[in-house]
Amino acid sequence: MIVLVLNCGSSSVKFQLIRTSLEDIEAGTEEKLGRGIIGKIGMTTATVAFEAEGRPPVRETPVILEHRVAIERVLSLLTDPDVGVIKDRSEIGAVGHRVVHGGEKFAQSQLITEEVLREIVECIELAPLHNPHNVRGYEIARELLPDVPHVAVFDTAFHQTVPEHAYLYGLPMVLYRRHGIRRYGFHGSSHRYLTARMERLLGRPRTEFNLITCHLGNGCSVTAVQHGRSIDTSMGFTPLEGLVMGTRSGDLDPAVILHVMAKEELTLHEANTLLNKHSGLIGVSGISNDMRELIKEAQRGDQHAQTAIDLFCYRLKKYISAYYGVLGGADAVVFAGGIGENAAVVRERSCDGLESLGMIMDPKRNEELNGREGRISTDDSPVGIYVVLTDEEMVIARDTARAIAGNL
């Protein structure tokens, strides 16, 4: 079956076309037919990028003012005789939608029904920046592809196995009951992919190992995976908690923000933007939110860039160590995401000093392994350290196939 994977953001639509089935998942014979992204929706120069296997890539900047036009463009690209990969949209057998927040309702992906849609809408209060666009994307796709099943895959679902003592905050219980204030965790599809992939790399079923999975991209999170289940994760009620990220602060003393709001006379909106858009790597370095650029600047001797990298790696090391304890020992640490897959120096620094926990990096392997999958610890390291190229779209496509087969 061919699955269209859709990820609708506030001003972008990312998409992939993947051929998969229960047999393909088992045999590892899934096939990516095409992928693309439409960005800057709502502006007169939106950006369209599309690449299909064996076809010339497409780059254009048309006027795309709303998501409907964007998703129509996705379908016309996929079926285009020159650049597309399918003859007709009827070849699309199902659509898998990324939905950021599934609250406590969804511990698994769901075939979208009226009931499921209503519950996703109820979660909007928890993710006001993301869920409305995910819902809008679904509504449009349903109109354009009315005869195929649509499946929702939630970023939060994988973390629904986190136990109460790890998801509750030390706050009055009434806030949890009244407003759902608790840790939800995000990047679930990525952490799940890494878990599934490690089954192959370790050659053992997931029930027989523990992992610390580090998804380090624009947003960053670490998850403690025990026997295949998430038992703690660094992102919390929102994706702001945990690691230092490109533009997000991660953990801080909550009193800091109250103090700064009073001192700088900030509104709620300003405080929110300060923490989510002006902090993290860009806030500390004052240079960039891009780790590649910071590494370059630090090599040239820029102290601010170096400080930002130091903070990033130190916070990550703290989480890796903590989760090692939480898990009662780990079989592997996994690095993924743009930074995790490409920044050898970050991997080295965040495992530096963890030899006592059995994490022994092979510097040469680490240095050489960039943008590829493999082991970067020494052969006799008790805890394996790995780089894995994460693939959230593949998880969405697989779940879509499984949900339709009733086999989640």
Binding site: L65, H269, E270, A271, T273, K277
Partner: protein
Amino acid sequence: MTRELGVVGAGTTGQGIVQTAAHAGIDVIFCEKSEESVNEALEAITVALDREIERWGMTKTDKTVILSRIRGTTAPEELKGAPLVIEAVSDNLTLKSKVFSALDSVLPPETILVTNTSSLSITQLAAVTNRPDRVVGMHFLSPVPKRPLVEVVRGLHTSDETVRLAKEFATEIKKTAIEVFEYPGFVTTRLILPLLNEAMHVVMEGVASASDVDTAMTLGYNFPSGPLEVADRMGLDEVLLWMEHLFHELGDLKYRPCPLLRKMVRAGELGVKTGKGFFVYDEAGRRVKSHP
């Protein structure tokens, strides 16, 4: 959903409306009297956005997106693609009537004409057009991007549909609309002015110092700032004009401007904009705390 908005007059309030609508994702075309004024307004909006970035309220990308949605012109007929055109020239009946009459002749008959006024009569302005049912007031408060309220004002002939569209537009730009019927001062101006005026009387009569009056209201009633600082920020000359307008329209003694207000305006102490009113302010408009 509104895709395009026209704005006529890009002074402080006009700029605020342009910026707010563009931030909400609407393409805005604004009209000023000369190329020079157009450029000044664009420059001022850029500065306002930079200040937002400095205060961590937005990112550079947000600024680029917002500016890309804004276009200035000197030709009012270029606004004819917008379903809604807001006039935001100075609050002066003669000037506003002239603008309305000009807009009425160049814009399509279905365009809704909005006037941003804090006290003038919508009915009187509508009378100079051929579409009194499609004329409505929207009173934005200053600074527009920071005040989440707008008063949607019905004139005598304003249709229900026009009021509905004006409220819908307010929601789109993330303002809460309250509906008011035309009457001098509407709700906000009519309620705040007598309070400011009374605070001035308290000072004039020697009951308490300006600073203590403001402290009383901020701490005693949880006002975000005291009435005398509010008056200083509005401009004491503006406060005097509005008081005189209310007094003239309604004739009630409770709207008689406080003599101290008159005296300060005559002395050129107009508040934040001159650096001195009831309190002293620095160039950035921050209140300078006095040292006892």
